[in-house]
Structures are given as structure tokens and as C-alpha cells.
Amino acid sequence: MNEPSWRSVFSIVLASARMRLLTITRYPGQLILDTFIPIVFAAMPILLGRAGGEENAAIAFQRNTGTANYVAYLLIGSSVFTIVSFAFWHVAYWLRWEQESGTLEALYLAPVQRIWIAAGTALYSCGRGLFAALTAYFLGAIILRFNPIQGELGLALLFILVGFIPLYGMTLLYGAVILKVKEANALVNLMQWSVSFLMGIFFPITVFPPLLKTIALLFPPTWMTNGVRSALLGIGFFLGHWYLDLAVLWGFMLLSPLLGYWVFHQVENQVRRNEGVGQF
């Protein structure tokens, strides 16, 4: 079989992303909710902290995290959480949805590589995640009253954009688990909370014991979150300089998609040889 041209590959990716975008535009309420969920999430620890007095909260927070601007710190955490959570939900749930609606097996018969359809889903997910995270951050800044345009905004955005690739590489690993174990909902929920915990959504990972801290540092979202926080709030990069932290993310960017694709491919072949992808 001839290899498809880049043009046709691009068209597959766009068609897959467009199909999902079309579906979500039919649920505008969900899009609005996407923006508010990170704000509500961040509001929980913010309100809890303020219960002891706003000034005390800032002093204690500064001592524990390196910044007194706890509102921005927590909102950045929950906004990045939205991106991570969407990545897992959209990719893993895409597989599950195709399985349940009986179209996954049909996809395997189509003259298209699944990876490009997955890339389309990832593209849609990136767009939706980025939109939700940015609107949540800026809207949250207005509601919770802090200046969102502070620090190095461009650098923060760079950390997010570079972090997208290893993140979606990781979701392929997870897609493999869904293909094998099938129970998507519970696993995605568990995974999104595990990653949120490890990336330090509301706290620095320095509170972890050494082993847990090492595991956390193996997760690209941890570097992504700290990079964004350091760029905006100046809490300090893990390796002292932004370019060193970014270099680690670049390393993940090369490794994670390759590893994800390889594992996904292995599991996919195994499932096809045994029960088949149509069973769920």
C-alpha cells in the first residue's frame, strides 16, 4: 500500500478534530462550564485559606510555596489541571466511545492509520483545553481580583505548548490501558486525580517524601505546572533556570510520544490477536 501523502494525513487530522468540535458546539453549556470548573476548584482552597484571615493566609502561603499571591498560584494549578484532565478524558474516552458505539472495529478496517485520527482528537482536545484554561485564568483573575498580566506571559505559554506533546504521548499509554482493561470512566478519573496530585495542583511537590517527589518529577505535567508558575510568579524553576526546565520538557517531548505510540501499538496488536477491538 502506498504511504498517504502529508496532505491527506493533514486532512484526516483536521476532519477528526472538526467532527469533535462540531459535536461540542451542540452543547454550549458544557463549554461555559469548562471555564468555570477551574475557578470553582481553585476557590475551595482559597476560601479555606481566607477563613483564617487574608493577611495570615498570604504569610503562611509565602512561607510554604515562595509566593504570597496564593490566588494566582492556585488558579494556575487548576487551569493546568484542566488541560491535563481534558487530555486524558478526550483521548481515552474517544477510544471508549468508539468501542461502545461499535465504530472502533470499523476504524481498523478503514485505509487510515489510527494514529492520525488520534492526532485529530488530540488537536481538538488541545484547543478546547487551552481555551478553557486561558479563559478560566483571565476570568478567574477578574472574579478573584488579581493582576493576570504579570511575570513572563510568553514563557508561561511556551511551557504549556511544549508540555502538550509529552502530555498527549502519555495519553497514548493510557489509551492502551483503556483498550486492554476497558473500564474507561473509573480509570480516567483515577488517572486525572493521580496526575493532579503528582503535578502539585495546589501545592509545591517539595511537600512530598523523596520517593514520591522523584515519581512526580517523571511526569511532564509537573514541569509544565512549575514552569508556568515560575514564569508568572517567580517561585523558582526546578533546575534554577527556565531554559534548563524547558530542556527537560523537550526531553520528555521526544521520549513520551515514542514510548506512548510503541506501547499503544503493542497492546493494540495483542487485543486484535485475542478478543478483537470490537468487544467492550
Binding site: 482552597p45 483564617g52 495542583i201
Partner: protein, 279 residues
């Protein structure tokens, strides 16, 4: 008649429990998830305290001790959240799977189908709540248990009222179908803020506290944790305890009936319009 209803209820509850047992990964994962949520929010809260040096309380969030506020609020939130999804939104599953209309062709009491889901919640959420309470109190301090009997009464009334909300939400699900997923998410977060499950009501801006005072569930949270914490200074926060007790009791007694009536109305509408199986 009662015996027939009991058998129907038991058969439906058993079906739910069998389904639960057939997804062991989901079972274990949802348990792990509770632990992670608890750990995330607890560690987030600890950032406002001097937890590395607890003896120095000068800047550790004042003298505010939040273990009781957070843990008891979280328990009620878990039940509310599970009720919205298990009783309310799960009616969609029957619709999507095509079994809802079949249920209406059987001579069994349809309402018991809803009530049977309560068994799962009591069993599963109950276990998860106990585990979460133990974990949270080990992380943020000793849990005060001052008036256990009063606390139990308030808890049962709150639970009964929450189930009523679940029935009402099931009615709404029958009407708005897939959009119910968004509404469930929205309600969950709205209640999380307005019922102040994770923080004292005093932390809410005054205009939001006004809306909290309109929700019986907020009084449940306030009365339940105030009673178990032994009514420390400033608690309960929304109204005098006697008033909250009356509100919680009325909510617990009447809300299931209100929810049931709403469900019956939605069901009647669905049958007349022929939309029960449409999704």
C-alpha cells in the same frame, strides 16, 4: 402489598449490587480517587498553615482549626454528588440501553427502581466516606465528635433530603436528557460553593452567603458539622441552631415526597408524549 414491594426493591437493589461487583477496577479506582481528592484538597489547605512547624501558630491561619469543617462537609458532599449521578443521571443509562421503556411494561413499581439505587450509595459512599474521614483526620488533625446522636439524626435527615434532590434530578433528566450531564456537573459545583462543604460560611462573600441561606442543604452542612464539633464559637453560622434543626427536619421529611411528585410528573409526561425511550 408491602411484601411485593419489598421483593421488587430487593431484586432491583441486588441487580445494582451485581453490576457494581462486576466492575472491580471501577470499584477500586473510585476508592483510590476519593483518597486522592482528599489528599489534594487537604495539602492545598495545609499551605495556609504552618504545618512544618505546628508549634508556631502565629501565622498559621490564625486560630482557625478546620478538620471538623472540612471532613464533615466533605462527607455530605460525597453523598450529594453520588446521589446526583447514581439516582439522577443514571436514569439516562436505562434510557440509552433501552431498558427504561421495558421497565414501564413490567408490573413492577417503577419508583422502586430509583429507590433501589439508594442502597448502592449507602453502601459504597458510606464506606468511602469513612475511609476519607480517617485519611483526612490523620492529615489535618483529630476529628471532633461531640454530639454523636444529634449528629446522626442530622445526617439521616440530610441524607433523606439529598435523596429527594436525587429523585427531582431524575425527573429533570427525563426531560432534558443528555444536557443533564452538564446540569449535574453545574449543580455539583454550585452546591460545593454555596453549601461551603470545604470551608466555613464566613469565608464566602456576603452576597453568596445570601444565596446559601436560600438552600436547605446549606443548613444541613452547617448544623451537622456544628453539632459534631460541639458548637464552637461562631457556629452554626447561618441561623440559630434551633432554626437550622427545624429546616433540616422539614427538608429530610418533605424533600423525598417533593422529588417523588416531580419524578411522577416527568414520568407521566414522558409516557404521554412517548419520549421515555427517546434519548
Amino acid at each position: 402489598m408491602f411484601r411485593i414491594h419489598w421483593h421488587t426493591f430487593w431484586a432491583m437493589a441486588r441487580k445494582e449490587l451485581i453490576i457494581l461487583s462486576r466492575y472491580p477496577v471501577e470499584f477500586v479506582a473510585s476508592f483510590g480517587q476519593v483518597f486522592l481528592i482528599v489528599a489534594i484538597f487537604t495539602l492545598g489547605g495545609l499551605m495556609f498553615s504552618n504545618f512544618r512547624n505546628p508549634m508556631d501558630s502565629e501565622t498559621s491561619g490564625g486560630n482557625f482549626s478546620y478538620s471538623g469543617v472540612v471532613v464533615y462537609g466533605f462527607i455530605l458532599f460525597m453523598f450529594l454528588s453520588d446521589t446526583l449521578w447514581s439516582i439522577g443521571y443514571n436514569i439516562r443509562h436505562e434510557q440509552v440501553q433501552g431498558t427504561l421503556e421495558q421497565l414501564y411494561l413490567s408490573p413492577a413499581n417503577k419508583f422502586l427502581n430509583l429507590v433501589a439505587r439508594v442502597t448502592n450509595i449507602l453502601l459504597w459512599t458510606g464506606m468511602a466516606s469513612i475511609a476519607a474521614a480517617i485519611l483526612m483526620s490523620s492529615m489535618i488533625g483529630q476529628l471532633p465528635i461531640k454530639n454523636p446522636l444529634l449528629g446522626l439524626y442530622l445526617f439521616l435527615m440530610s441524607l433523606s433530603g439529598t435523596f429527594g434532590i436525587g429523585f427531582a434530578f431524575a425527573a429533570l433528566t427525563l426531560r432534558i436528557k443528555e444536557a443533564a450531564q452538564t446540569v449535574a456537573n453545574f449543580l455539583q459545583f454550585l452546591f460545593l460553593i454555596l453549601c461551603a462543604n470545604f470551608f466555613p460560611f464566613s469565608a464566602l462573600p456576603p452576597f453568596l452567603r445570601f444565596f446559601s441561606r436560600l438552600l436547605p442543604l446549606a443548613y444541613c452542612v452547617d448544623a451537622f458539622r456544628s453539632a459534631l464539633m460541639g458548637f464552637p464559637a461562631g457556629f452554626p453560622e447561618l441561623a440559630p441552631f434551633e432554626a437550622e434543626l427545624v429546616i433540616v427536619t422539614l427538608f429530610g421529611v418533605f424533600m423525598p415526597f417533593v422529588g417523588y411528585r416531580l419524578y411522577c410528573a416527568a414520568e407521566r409526561y414522558g409516557r404521554q408524549a412517548g419520549t421515555l425511550s427517546a434519548y
